[in-house]
């Protein structure tokens, strides 16, 4: 398998506090990788450095072998790195369809286009991309709804649909089921599983059932550093992970 996204010695310091340090990390094409760790382990900081919203203070990020450490988040989206946020980040005044159309429009037109006379409603590839994202996240029934009026779970799924409409090669999901009801979470889990069959997915999540169930491999962060990496079975069996993550609780508890 080829490496899609890789970091070497990646670090982020806020003054003297190191939120991330010395992270060597790599994701293979097609993999579904989870990043877990206790609160404050630096998962979100790590994600933000990958998506380009936070600048790394040390180390390097490679995408398909190219150094992208200094590229803006906007540029990275066009390379194929898309992110769904922990708190649904959508256009609340727009319909679900328009939310996805905007993302698809960015993908097809590029970072800037001085199209001050032409309307976008005849761009069929934009509509195609948007509709596909809406279908994939099972939002068709609410496509015409003002997205600010959606239920929490639908907003989170819309955020993923927005990311998807940019046709990413790798999708970064920051706690996709956080705050969802059990049913919503299961539905989203099934959707993520389906997405992962056609693209690379990197996921931060607290829901251990979900992580252990769907991940190909897991990276555990603690205090901003990589504590362990491996398959779900290896991570479950790892004594250091148990100590750090749950303060030495039994395997059964990690499991469920």
């Amino acid at each position: 398998m080829t490496t899609l996204l890789e970091t070497k010695g990646l670090g982020k310091s806020f003054g003297r506090f190191a939120a991330n340090a010395d992270i060597d990390f790599s994701v293979a094409q097609g993999e579904l990788r989870a990043v877990i760790g206790p609160n404050g382990a630096g998962k979100t900081t790590f994600f933000n450095m990958l998506s380009g919203t936070t600048a790394a203070t040390s180390g390097t990020i490679y995408f398909k072998g190219d150094d992208i450490t200094r590229l803006s988040g906007t540029r990275r989206v066009h390379l194929g790195i898309a992110k769904a946020f922990q708190t649904a980040n959508i256009y609340p005044e727009q319909t679900v369809r328009q939310n996805c159309r905007l993302a698809a429009l960015a993908h097809t037109q590029g970072t800037f286009a001085l199209e001050i006379l032409r309307r976008s409603d005849r761009l069929t590839d934009v509509d195609t991309l948007a509709e596909r994202a809406i279908e994939q996240l099972e939002l068709s029934s609410v496509a015409g709804v003002r997205s600010g009026d959606l239920a929490h779970g639908d907003k989170k799924r819309l955020d993923i649909a927005i990311a998807l409409a940019t046709e990413p090669e790798i999708l970064l999901l920051d706690e996709p089921v956080a705050g969802m009801s059990r049913d919503e979470a299961r539905k989203t889990e099934a959707l993520v599983r389906k997405l992962a069959s056609s693209m690379t997915v990197l996921i931060i999540e607290h829901d251990m059932d979900l992580i252990m169930g769907i991940s190909d491999s897991i990276t555990v962060l603690e205090a901003g550093r990589v504590l362990a990496s491996g398959t779900p079975a290896e991570i479950r069996a790892n004594q250091r992970v148990q100590d750090a993550y749950l303060g030495g609780h039994s395997e059964a508890e990690i499991d469920g």
């Binding site: 988040g73 906007t74 992110k83 980040n89 256009y91 905007l102 993302a103 800037f112 976008s120």
Partner: protein
């Protein structure tokens, strides 16, 4: 484009032409004089440009006088220095508009990365610098005296050189005055305003306008779907500056004089007032706001010495009671939607974010 939108395009063009044709005569009936009608149309172009920033981009500029007065000075200087014998109105206006666009690109390159009060203060600071430079460059600008008696620019149209100061033939119209009150200047200003309105209408419905609105609503998301937010804001700032420069140059040529006050802080503030009173995000808002305030100023300042106070009270009253402005409130009433209610709030929020 569907039949429905083409129908609405035709309706828009027709209604706008009728209103512009009737305006100076109706205006006469309420004591407005034809010259003021012309000035209102000209200044409206600047207010429309200003609103592209405030209403559609969510940026409050407090320095638009630099483009307005700048346009006026550039047009006057071009006529005095380059075309004393064959003063060409097209060249003066196009030159001034280009100069304003370049100035906007330069200032915007620094300003569009700032938000809210910082953006307003930086634009204000640049406008004050331009004011100071123009005031000091006495050889070119006559300093505090301003530029007067520059060549009367003619409008080359095919084989003719049209003097826009020419009045229409005399036809008495009762309470609506006389056709001869209208000079060709009014028709020219109306045509330019009409084109600017068509342009803005297309722009706000265009792909560019769509992205601009998206960035105003959620910049973080817009950046992370792949839009270069700073580039969009810079483009909006440049178009806004260009329209304001166009307006300022027309005003200088119409008045036959340009003064440093056209670069001043009061001038910058007037665009804020016109736009908010008329209604942000409404295409005709800035036009109506300019007309109402300029008319009241003309009528009231003749009788009372505290016009500025009255203007301030109107401004405050509109912000509190009609946050969508005159046009926004009216269109709410007619369409039954309360959509624009949140618009000013949204604009201000976007403006103070980050």
């Amino acid at each position: 484009m569907t039949g429905a939108t083409r129908g609405s395009d035709v309706r828009f063009a027709l209604l706008t032409s009728i209103v512009l044709a009737v305006f100076p005569f109706a205006f006469h009936a309420i004591d407005g004089y034809a010259g003021l009608a012309t000035q209102i149309l000209i200044v409206s172009i600047a207010s429309i440009g200003f609103n592209l920033l405030l209403g559609y981009t969510g940026l409050l500029s407090y320095g638009h006088a630099m483009f307005y007065g700048g346009g006026g000075y550039v047009a006057a200087i071009l006529l005095i220095r380059l075309m004393p014998d064959h003063p060409n109105l097209w060249l003066a206006v196009i030159g001034a508009t280009l100069a304003a666009t370049i100035l906007a690109l330069l200032v915007g390159a620094l300003a569009v990365r700032l938000y809210g009060i910082y953006f307003a203060l930086l634009t204000l600071a640049f406008a004050q610098m331009v004011f100071f430079i123009v005031e000091q460059a006495k050889d070119w600008t006559s300093g505090d005296d301003g530029l007067q008696s520059f060549p009367n620019a003619l409008l080359p149209l095919g084989p003719y050189n049209v003097d826009l100061g020419t009045a229409l033939p005399s036809v008495p119209l009762g309470p609506f005055g006389n056709l001869a009150d209208i000079k060709l200047w009014y028709i020219f200003a109306a045509l330019v305003l009409f084109c600017v309105l068509l342009l803005m209408r297309a722009l706000t419905r265009s792909q560019f306008g769509e992205v601009l609105t998206a960035i105003r609503e959620n910049e973080e998301r817009s950046s992370l779907v792949g839009f270069n937010a700073a580039a969009y804001r810079l483009a909006a700032f440049a178009i806004s500056g260009a329209l304001t420069g166009l307006s300022g140059s027309l005003r200088a040529l119409y008045d036959g004089t340009v003064a440093v006050e056209s670069l001043g802080i009061d001038r910058s503030g007037s665009f804020v007032i016109y736009t908010i009173v008329g209604g942000v995000q409404a295409l005709f808002g800035p036009v109506v706001g300019s007309a109402v305030i300029m008319y009241l100023e003309s009528v009231l300042s003749a009788h009372i010495s505290y016009w500025r106070l009255v203007e301030g009270v109107i401004f405050v009253a509109v912000i509190i009671f009609l946050p969508a402005g005159i046009v926004g409130t009216l269109s709410e009433r007619f369409s039954g939607r309360a959509k624009s209610r949140a618009l000013l709030v949204q604009t201000v929020r976007a403006d103070s974010g980050k």
